[in-house]
């Protein structure tokens, strides 16, 4: 019996394979979408969970305002449920390349959050590093190249500045992706343009500061057992956070204490040093003073001695002089005496004698002369003798006189001689005395000389001594002066040291308690946005399959109703034969179940693989994770199967039982055909009269089969809506960039200037740009990163402060989001972009907290919410900026709008600007938006998926309905065929209805698609983006056309089915 039933069922499947397949397809689609969508979110979570587990990603991160120490790690590792604690270093650094200045997050490889090696090798040596692949591409580097990372020196606990890295020049050994940065967001930095561009992994040995970690990562015991972001995981981590919270205070204090201790020790050492120095200085001064004193005394003594010696010498010399003088006087007296010895008498006598002599002498010659003259005359023989005689007589007289005179003369001469001898003797005597006197004088002189010599020597000695003393005195003075100076120096130094010490002491008092932040994965931006996205998919997974289940239920309801109705007679027969209701129903249940199970299982298999993969491919644009892990989730598959079975088998059982309520007799009689009735429209003769016959028939038929009418509309509506949604998503997403870079950001280049640029250099580049004809206009702005916080949440933003609000118009259009009117930046208020306003739940007039890169928080009022599509911005004017931050405004970015240039010209211009020294980076908006646009083209997948699923839906629904329609109305169709309707007339008899239903379906579908698009975009909208939620007019056209194509294909099938209708068979059978 049962075998017969099974056989009957299988035969039934074979005979009505179209119906079977259509139900199977419904199950396939229903379960496929359900399972695939349901599994996508868990698969994505599972993928990231396994990725995190494999890369040993932290569960909890602890950061402290004062860094963390080995003691902290020790304490943390003792906390319950903590598996491992890793100290980590993460610092921002700058890399200068030929054409840009890159800000990188430098992370030490520390065994946690391990990067996943993509290419090359892990760093083995201290001077090696890993980079992300895009770094290589963007900077034209290769593995093996070298980069130099500049990191600002850090301060160790002792307050000394030390470099962070041992080696700044690093060799790239490979590329890797970091589990810490799964999204493209790398966070903000106080360096460069304010955003981190890349992460770089370095060997932990390369870190110079081994004792203070920038953060500590904790892996929880057993956490790997839980799936990340699951409730169990979150609860478990929350508990662990509480555990850590418990030691937080103690560790904070300990850290403070250790810092205080270090400082205290330092102070103490400084104090000791100071004291020692003080003591040293004092003793040195004392020594010096003593020395000086001694010197002073010595000088005094010396002076006294000298005085004494001088005095003595003086006395002695005086005495000696006295003696000498006495001796001199004596000598003078003697000399006087000698000089006084008189030869005058003698001289006088002598004189007399001499005079006499002289007279004699004079007389003699005269006599002689006379004599001679006489003699002569005598000689003259001729002399008369008389004369001669006279002469002789005279001669003889003369002779006698002469002889007499000669005698006198002799006596005179003897007298003179005598006198002369006496004089000579006396003179001799005097001479002798004189000689003696001379001798004495010489002696005296010698003595005097000696005395003088002695005196000189003595005085020289004294003078020398005096000079010495004088020198010593000068020395002493110098010494005194130096001492004085040293004393002053010492005092100053000590005062300085004292001040330093005091400062240090004060600082100790100022050492604040560090603040620990205990964070979990929910503070990792990429992770959070990924989590949000999986939630969005989960939401879609809740709604989307419902459509399919609903359609599946309706379709199977009609199909099975038709099937049961077709077999009414057979059912009646079985019943009459004595089969129980259950047994009879079993056939249909079996039929439906088989379709459900086979279709559902296949659907689950395909859905589990296809949908997560496709979604992953789409999300892959945004995230850098591993390949998705596909899981066959039995629970979801079973749930899907159960749901679809409830829908389809339920519908089957319902229809079967509805029929089985009748008695066999009733069942075996033909079911009276659905009677015709007037429709509402006929009561409006105005319209009804204007309809031709065929249209009247059509209208009446439409209202006759209300269930099918509704279902066809739903099917087509769904089809159109899905296609429109697909196009709508693409339109909206691809519209983002044109909207952002066409409506809001109209500049071509963003030229970021270097931090260190001088005013002159800045003016130079500005004037160069002003004068370059290739730039149509430019505007200077100050750009920085910030964080907006409302009572609800907080978001990272870019802050833009234009230098001149007029100049920026047309470069950045700051427009009200609703009115699209230009907004004026008000003093002391800010404008924020609309997505961030939505995320933070704030409105115009609200006050919001804005935090800058230096963690300075200010409260400010929102003056307007402005249009923007990509990421979040805050706009404010100079006045606001200066008053908020109390800082002088200084622009750091030049935005330029270029004249019409070719791509090559633009690139050349960008390179030219980049090569300037003043420029840190140039971003070319056209190139940027081009590349993103390429990425966005992946979105066509979404459109394809939706079109394919829409097509499948349309096919299944329409084909099924068409079949039901034909089989339900087969007699009617056969009749009109018999009446001689041509094939196309028969077709149009049916098709007219289809066309109308299709039109209604399409119109409603466009409306519903609009709403669905809005809903899906709202659910999927990424935090950083504002979808425009627009659908291009052409998309409506495409949606309609594609729906029409699907309908036409189904109708072609219908056409052939109609053609194949066997009139005889159809009319012969007894209903």
């Amino acid at each position: 019996m049962k075998k017969a039933l099974l056989k009957d069922s299988l035969k039934e499947i074979k005979n009505t394979y179209k119906r079977f397949i259509s139900i199977l397809l419904m199950a396939f689609l229903g379960v496929g979408f359900f399972a695939g969508l349901r599994a996508s979110s868990p698969d994505m979570v599972d993928t990231i969970d396994k990725y995190y587990d494999n890369q040993n990603v932290y569960d909890i991160q602890v950061i402290s305002t004062l860094g963390l120490t080995d003691e902290d790690i020790e304490a943390l590792s003792k906390v319950d449920n903590v598996e491992n604690v890793y100290g980590s270093y993460e610092v921002d650094g700058k890399i200068e390349t030929e054409n840009s200045e890159i800000v990188a997050k430098v992370i030490a490889l520390s065994g946690v959050n391990n990067p996943m090696l993509l290419e090359g090798e892990m760093p083995q040596n201290v001077n090696e590093c890993l980079v992300e692949p895009s770094f290589l591409i963007a900077n034209d580097k290769q593995i093996g190249d070298k980069i130099i990372i500049e990191i600002e020196d850090t301060t160790n606990d002792s307050g000394d500045k030390i470099p962070v890295l041992k080696h700044k020049e690093l060799t790239i050994t490979g590329t890797a992706k970091s589990p810490l940065y799964i999204s493209r967001d790398r966070g903000k930095s106080s360096l460069g343009a304010g955003t981190i561009n890349y992460y770089i992994y370095v060997a932990s040995d390369n870190i110079n500061v081994e004792d203070i970690y920038t953060s500590v990562y904790i892996t929880a015991k057993d956490a790997k057992k839980y799936t990340t972001s699951s409730e169990e995981y979150e609860d478990y981590i929350e508990e662990l956070k509480q555990n850590i919270e418990a030691i937080k205070e103690e560790r904070e204090n300990a850290r403070k204490q250790s810092l205080v201790n270090v400082a205290d020790k330092k102070v103490k050492e400084a104090q000791e040093e100071l004291d020692t120095q003080k003591r040293d200085a004092e003793s040195k001064i004392a020594d010096a003073e003593k020395e000086l004193e001694n010197a002073r005394k010595e000088i005094q003594d010396g002076e006294a001695q000298i005085y004494l010696n001088e005095q003595n010498a003086y006395v002695q010399f005086n005495n000696a002089q006295q003696e000498l003088d006495n001796a001199k006087t004596q000598l003078q007296t003697k000399e006087q005496e000698l000089n006084n010895t008189n030869f005058d008498d003698l001289e006088l006598k002598k004189q007399e004698l001499q005079t006499n002599l002289d007279t004699v002498n004079m007389t003699i010659p005269a006599l002689q002369t006379q004599y001679e003259s006489l003699s002569k005359l005598l000689e003259d023989e001729n002399l008369p003798i008389d004369q001669r005689q006279i002469y002789e007589a005279q001669k003889a007289a003369l002779e006698g006189q002469i002889i007499e005179l000669q005698g006198a003369k002799q006596s005179l001469e003897a007298g003179i001689q005598e006198i002369e001898n006496g004089i000579a003797y006396a003179k001799q005597q005097l001479e002798n005395g004189r000689y003696e006197l001379e001798q004495a004088k010489a002696e005296l002189e010698r003595q005097e000389q000696q005395l003088n010599n002695t005196k000189w020597t003595t005085y020289t000695q004294i003078a020398n001594a005096k000079t010495e003393i004088e020198n010593a005195k000068v020395e002493l003075q110098n010494g005194e002066e130096e001492l004085e100076k040293n004393k002053k120096d010492f005092d100053e130094k000590i005062a300085d040291a004292q001040k330093e010490l005091d400062d240090a002491k004060e600082k100790i008092a100022d050492i604040e308690k560090p603040n620990w932040y205990i964070l979990d994965r929910n503070t990792n931006a990429g992770y959070v946005s990924f989590k949000q996205d999986t939630k969005a998919i989960e939401n879609i997974a809740k709604v989307f399959p419902l459509v399919f289940f609903l359609v599946a239920t309706l379709i199977s309801l009609t199909s099975m109703t038709r099937m049961v109705e077709e077999e009414r007679t057979q059912i009646g027969t079985f019943k009459a034969l004595g089969y129980s209701n259950l047994q009879i129903t079993r056939k249909y249940v079996l039929y439906a179940s088989l379709a459900c199970i086979v279709g559902g299982f296949l659907g689950a298999c395909v859905g589990f693989v296809l949908l997560p993969k496709v979604l992953w491919a789409l999300y892959g644009m945004m995230y850098q994770i591993t390949d998705i892990r596909i899981n066959f989730k039995l629970d979801i598959a079973i749930l899907g199967l159960v749901l679809i079975s409830v829908c389809i088998v339920g519908a089957t059982v319902y229809t079967a039982f509805k029929e089985l309520k009748n008695t066999p007799a009733v069942l075996m009689r033909p079911k009276s055909p659905k009677s015709g009735s007037r429709v509402m429209l006929e009561r409006i003769p105005f319209i009804w009269k204007r309809l031709n016959f065929s249209n009247k028939v059509t209208v009446r038929n439409l209202f006759r089969y209300k269930k099918r009418f509704l279902m066809t509309i739903i099917g087509i509506l769904g089809c159109t809506a899905l296609i429109l949604t697909g196009f709508g998503i693409r339109d909206s997403v691809t519209r983002i960039l044109p909207s952002q870079f066409g409506n809001v950001f109209c500049y071509d280049f963003q030229i970021t200037l270097k931090d260190s640029i001088s005013k002159e250099a800045k003016n130079k580049i500005i004037s160069d740009i002003e004068n370059d004809v290739r730039f149509e206009k430019n505007a200077r702005v100050y750009m920085t990163s910030g964080k907006l916080t409302s009572s609800e949440s907080s978001e990272d933003v870019e802050v833009i402060v234009p230098e001149d609000e007029q100049a920026i118009d047309g470069i950045i259009n700051i427009r009200d989001v609703k009115t699209h009117e230009k907004t004026i930046l008000k003093d002391n208020e800010i404008c924020i972009t609309d997505k961030v306003a939505q995320l933070l739940g704030v409105r115009v007039g609200d006050t919001i907290t804005l935090e800058n890169t230096d963690d300075l928080k200010v409260e400010v009022k929102i003056s307007d919410i402005v249009e923007n599509y990509v990421s979040h911005y805050v706009f404010m004017n100079k006045v606001t900026y200066e008053s908020l931050y109390n800082e002088k405004y200084n622009s750091n970015v030049i935005l330029t709008k270029n004249v019409e240039l070719t791509k090559d010209e633009t690139n050349a211009l960008a390179t030219e600007i980049m090569n300037r020294n003043e420029v840190s980076s140039v971003s070319n908006i056209t190139a940027l938006s081009d590349s993103i646009q390429d990425m966005m083209s992946l979105l066509n997948y979404v459109v394809v998926i939706l079109i394919v699923s829409a097509g499948l839906l349309a096919f299944v629904v329409l084909y099924n309905l068409a079949n039901v329609n034909i089989s339900e109305r087969i007699r009617e169709l056969a009749t009109i065929k018999v009446l001689g309707f041509y094939d196309n007339e028969v077709y149009s008899y049916i098709a007219r209805e289809t066309v109308i239903l299709t039109i209604i379906g399409i119109v409603l579908g466009l409306c519903f698609g609009y709403v669905l698009n809005y809903y899906i975009l709202g659910t999927c909208e990424i935090n950083m983006l504002r979808f425009t939620k627009t659908i291009n007019p052409i998309s409506y056209v495409y949606s309609v056309l594609i729906t029409v194509v699907f309908t036409v294909i189904v109708n072609i099938a219908t056409y052939f089915s109609l053609k194949k209708i066997n009139m005889i068979e159809s009319l012969k059978s007894v209903e």
Partner: protein, 233 residues
């Protein structure tokens, strides 16, 4: 040459490996304006004959001529055209379109024929002047069959083929229908073929063709047919 020539028609149905001969060398002829009754037991080939004659089925071999037109050689669209213009069918179960009123059912036929009759007139003729705007479900069986006949006649066909037109009707109503058919034939000068297993109504025909086991058993010409009112069964 007769108006209808049914010449050596053979019809085989292939049911898997079994070949069933529905008709074997069936030959008969009908003159224009005749009322022909085809009688015979179930499975004798009556309906097959009618179907082939009406262009609803094709013969395996043999030739059918209707008003000089070789029906057996018609294909596809020509065959439909033949059905459309030359044939009117009346079935046992009326086969009215439930969603159309009596008049609309007639219009369904007239709108596709070039020289159709006025639906109202036809309905008046079949005695349904008062029920024109009723739906089939609001009509009795006889009335429904009248609508069916009206629909067939309205096309102004050359042949009116009726397959057990009274099969689902009670005696009295059946009689009325037969009367209508006889009147149509006589007054409307229409050639009418009626299939029935009820031999009792044979006297109303001009010609009675007896079928047995897929072939014509005998043909009786009745020069003086009895009016339906006078026939009792």
């Amino acid at each position: 040459m007769a108006y209808i020539e049914f010449d050596n028609i053979k019809k085989e149905y292939k049911m898997g490996e079994v070949t069933i001969n529905a008709l074997n060398d069936t030959t008969f002829s009908v003159d224009k304006g005749q009322l022909v009754v085809i009688v015979g037991p179930s499975g004798a080939g009556k309906t097959t004959t009618l179907n082939i004659l009406g262009g609803m089925d094709s013969a395996t071999s043999g030739k059918v001529m209707v008003d000089g037109k070789e029906v057996t050689s018609l294909k596809g669209r020509e065959l439909i055209k033949y059905r459309r213009e030359d044939i009117g069918f009346v079935f046992q179960f009326y086969n009215l379109v439930q969603n159309l009123t009596a008049k609309e059912n007639v219009e369904l036929a007239t709108q596709i024929c070039s020289d159709s009759l006025d639906p109202d007139e036809v309905l008046d003729n079949v005695g349904l002047s008062q029920r024109k705007n009723n739906f089939p479900s609001q009509l009795s069986g006889g009335e429904q069959q009248r609508v069916a006949i009206a629909r067939a006649i309205a096309k102004n066909p050359k042949l009116l083929l009726c397959d057990e037109p009274t099969g689902a009707l009670d005696y009295k109503t059946g009689k009325q229908i037969l009367k209508l058919l006889q009147d149509t034939c006589k007054k409307g000068k229409m050639t009418v073929l009626i299939i029935t297993h009820n031999t009792a109504i044979a006297p109303m025909a001009d010609k009675v063709i007896y079928f047995k086991n897929g072939s014509v058993e005998k043909i009786e010409n009745n020069s003086n047919p009895t009016p339906v009112e006078d026939i009792e069964w």
